[in-house]
Symmetry: D2
Subunit: 356 residues, 4 copies
């Protein structure tokens, strides 16, 4: 089979690998559609140390090709999805409800970092009884792909932001996760959603998926502008979706006393300097502000609920799809994500094969 | 009457003032006992701008001397307590459950900063219907004083730390608030309480009020030592009770993924540099850690519960009382708090008067 | 002025009363629009003992006519709303976050039961600092009326139902509260909303405001049908919005282990027999089901958020308006509500007056 | 090996069985100590249909005798405990945090009902990676036995009762679970704990483990007496720990508006009539009361925290041990539990064997 692998800093390519074997608790999936995540881009740039030749990717769906002996409740050929996180369900973190941290910090994230990714014609799902999820007939592969990662992350960000019903929220940056956080804030009852985006296309897309007001951080002081809109006390909640020190600080400044910052951005990739909490805006430590980091949950139960939201038409992230490729073009798709070229947001990658 | 007032940076003194008058929603209290808080010390050093002549103090109990026309349910002579925070109960923050931030950041804290403090022979309680609380007969003035501020703060710190029942917690520093946070962690079902203290007396006191293990940060690396005790993943919860960048960073490092830091320390008094979140220990923003600032709630309902804990003997903070003074010695007591001399922890100040 | 008053069991009529006077903490409102609530109907039928001549109603908006001396932040003529519940903000229940139970069971509900209602040309708002809420310009009187009671109740029902994001919920009955609970479930991220209604118009309206599936309880066994749709384990949450023993029992049976019933129905009006919890469906007391009663919160902070949802177009309850009357026709409107005639859902009652 | 088995309604006896075999995910334990639970007594009386010959019991500890091929992190001979509930950790209920309902209602409870119990010289632990828990050296077998079931249940009851810190709680009945709920309420910061018990020995024991006030329901009207103690509004929380309609109704009446009933009692054993919610005390469905059913969680992570509470001396349930037997006397011990003779509360049953 073909797989898109890491070939050294900022280099990727399609190589041949054997179709993987199935352990007793695993399943092998024949891939029908994949996407590429910004975190894949960070990974090949050096954010996470992985061996040369490791298959990339953690956003793929497909059909069951082979099932391990302990896996029940599925049949070969079933159309299935699996999350970007694939927790074990057994460790203390999973038992305590922190399956994102399965086995230790960020440990629920196993694709590419702990094992082969799934940007390949076949891939193995670990702990399949915990993670494998049927895709309802009325949900497309493309929709299901969003559910596996970026939509789940955006919704989790909105949940962690503790937005009171009818409350006010700012989502800082409108990349794929930020746009999905806008979707999430809308889904969960925010009364006013303010977002920030610099590009006109993103601004339009932000409004399309749920923003009430979009601010251009290159053209205004975001904190000033938000206060002009909602009053000097600030908003109930802020979602950091960029991963810079500047937006993190802004998030803390934007919320009112008692408010919450949900951090969905990936920090520390280029700098490992401490994340700064502005001390006055944090009330010298005493104004009841909350800062929460997060990753999107894994597991079948959660993914089933995400897929239900797509099935019932509650959310629709597909306007984020900006490009479509065949898997044979995966390298080019990947490099476009690296360059952030052609206004790319999310690329969809299809796999050939009449038999599907 | 006599009042202890601010006379310029780091200067305080007893002066004569008229007995205060009572507005329709207020009561005037004749003071029976007061204490001095470390935040009074910060205030006179310049942390908060107050006019010369302003009465200091926010920890006092006494008996009702005069009642405003709108206040009902009390009688003159009733023995009463009132919190260090005296929220209005009416503003949006109070309505949302953030009465500590009454009217804006830290706004529940009105004594000295917004109006006269209560280190005086008589003092006025604003919004008495919301704040005035009867002291049960079996609770002493000394016990009730703890409930008004430092004990409430320590218990609120433990509540904000989200300690699972039987879970593990570190309380960083064992000043008055830290010791009360130890009491709070014990009260709320922590399974293992580790504290840090440098002075032998404090170490002994820490154990007496509830610590299982006390570490000396001058003699060990606290993070290393905690990991040796509980395993490399760290503890469920940490309470920062000192107010330094170093202990704040430690708190984030000490908790496991999914854990919570409750910040009870007052930061930013000497430096307004941002509070640093160590980026690796924060999982690049993604390991589900939560950081929460806090102040102790005000209001009668909450103070009633604090007093009940003293009445039933559930907690006993009186071992923290290290010194006793007559109000005529209040200046000396205050200066001892400033110097942190004579191993002072909490001083109790009594007011003369046969008629009580 | 004219007021619609109680004249004996199931009798109401317009009578002349003096324009009410304003206490120092009150405001007098000149009414612009009112609605009638099903609970008014219960009241005149004898559910709550009230004196003959008591003004009915608790859903009215208008403009400030006169302000008490202690009320600040408003001007005469301001367009304002006030909740069906008008808590004091001072008592222990209000301080604990249970302002619906202000001063005791159901005590937040003061209109008609504790004091004059507001189906009159002028009415008094108690505790105005806590309760009075400006109506944004872009929100109509009709919309604001929904926010004061039935929409708030429906949203509160959805909040109390603890619906996981993307989860499944059944709303039992689609009267005004049930329809608003459907709006609330949609607003708060439910993935599948099943409702029950017998009349075709209501079924259509239920779908219009957010239901995915509407079941007719006269034509199917609701529990069987729901299980056929979601699986034998049942739904995550159920909202009881009728107030019968039968639907209450159904609600407990419909939820899966770990699920929640939010009770929004008014029980016990015709019978005071105990509400029955079906013992097998409750797992003999052990299957982690939760049953919660509720009333819609009062207070300005909450009502402001409800109004924001209307302002941003997040929810639109106005399809529930089935009838329009002039206040001179209020008696007829009321009797129509009593008879449930002409497919009435919510009537809007306008007040004459060029000067508005 | 010997096992205590069900021999027909209300009949039990020791029989010989082969030492059980170990599946790949299981471990076999050689038992060192067991206890008998009241629910075993209900089971043999017919509450749950089980085949004749089924081994009884779900409270046992011991040492690892044999390990399945997939089980890691343990060694033969390790001293271990396992909960009365042994969830799989994989199903949707487990993934959602309701492992007590593993696979369906009450499904976490597998011993005796779904498979062999553990009142036998050897027993098998299913899903050992999820459930098996090391016992700390300083915790005795007797203490650990409490953690596996009755102590966990009592603490879970206190957690579900949502007692505010310093709040008031009534625990109805002081059988083993009720006594442990008293321990739990004390552990979690209740300010006033009122219990009910009829026998003088139980009353004394109740005080010993944490009650402030013990009422005798045969000598007073419990609701009246509680109101005399705390005021007419009632208590914050009530824990039903008997399993009768009468105490369930009392629990709802005892709590104030906004309060919570945690149901720990096993209802429906003798009658399957609906559990009655008194309608007036439930505010016609609207006074914000919450009723929650519960079972004690299973799983290693939870059991580890329970064991930590014993290790640190936070709680001590061993005063509940009223009798000690050798396993050869298990039938007599069981019959004593059935008869509730000799003031039995909890019997401890030891297993012979020099090699331990």
């Amino acid at each position: 089979m073909k797989a898109l692998v890491f070939l050294g800093t900022n280099k990727v390519g399609l190589v041949d690998k054997p179709i993987p074997q199935c352990g007793p608790g695993d399943v092998v999936i024949r891939t029908t559609m994949s996407s590429i995540c910004t975190s894949d881009v960070h990974t090949i740039a050096g954010a996470i140390a992985i061996p040369v030749g490791r298959t990339l990717g953690h956003e793929s769906v497909g059909r069951i090709y082979q099932m391990g002996s302990r896996v029940t409740g599925f049949n070969e050929g079933d159309r299935v999805a699996v999350g970007a996180l694939t927790p074990c369900g057994q460790c203390d973190y999973c038992q305590r409800g922190y399956s994102t941290q399965c086995g230790g910090a960020l440990g629920g994230f196993k694709w590419t970092t702990q094992r082969e990714g799934n940007l390949s014609e076949y891939f193995v799902v670990n702990d399949a009884s915990y993670n494998l999820t049927p895709i309802p007939d009325s949900v497309t592969d493309e929709q299901a792909l969003y559910a596996t990662d970026v939509l789940s992350t955006g919704i989790a960000a909105a949940e962690h932001a503790n937005i009171p019903v009818g409350g006010t929220v700012v989502v800082l940056a409108q990349g794929p996760v930020g746009l999905c956080a806008t979707i999430g804030a809308r889904l969960l009852g925010a009364g006013l959603i303010i977002t920030t985006a610099t590009k006109p296309e993103r601004q339009a897309l932000s409004k399309r998926v749920g923003a009430d007001v979009v601010l251009d951080p290159h053209r205004c002081d975001v904190v000033e502008e938000v206060r002009a809109l909602v009053g000097p006390e600030g908003v109930d909640s802020a979602i950091e979706a960029l991963g810079t020190h500047e937006t993190f600080e802004q998030a803390v400044r934007l919320i009112k006393p008692g408010g919450t910052v949900a951090n969905a951005g990936y920090h520390g990739w280029k700098s490992q300097a401490p994340l700064p909490i502005p001390i006055i805006s944090f009330g010298m430590g005493m104004n009841a502000k909350t800062i929460r980091g997060l990753l999107a949950p894994g597991g079948r139960e959660h993914l089933t609920r995400m897929l239900r939201l797509l099935q019932s038409g509650r959310v629709n992230p597909t306007p984020l799809t900006s490009h479509r490729f065949d898997f044979s073009e995966a390298e080019r798709a990947f490099q476009l994500m690296v360059r952030k070229g052609e206004e790319i947001i999310k690329p969809m990658i299809s796999y050939e094969g009449d038999e599907w």
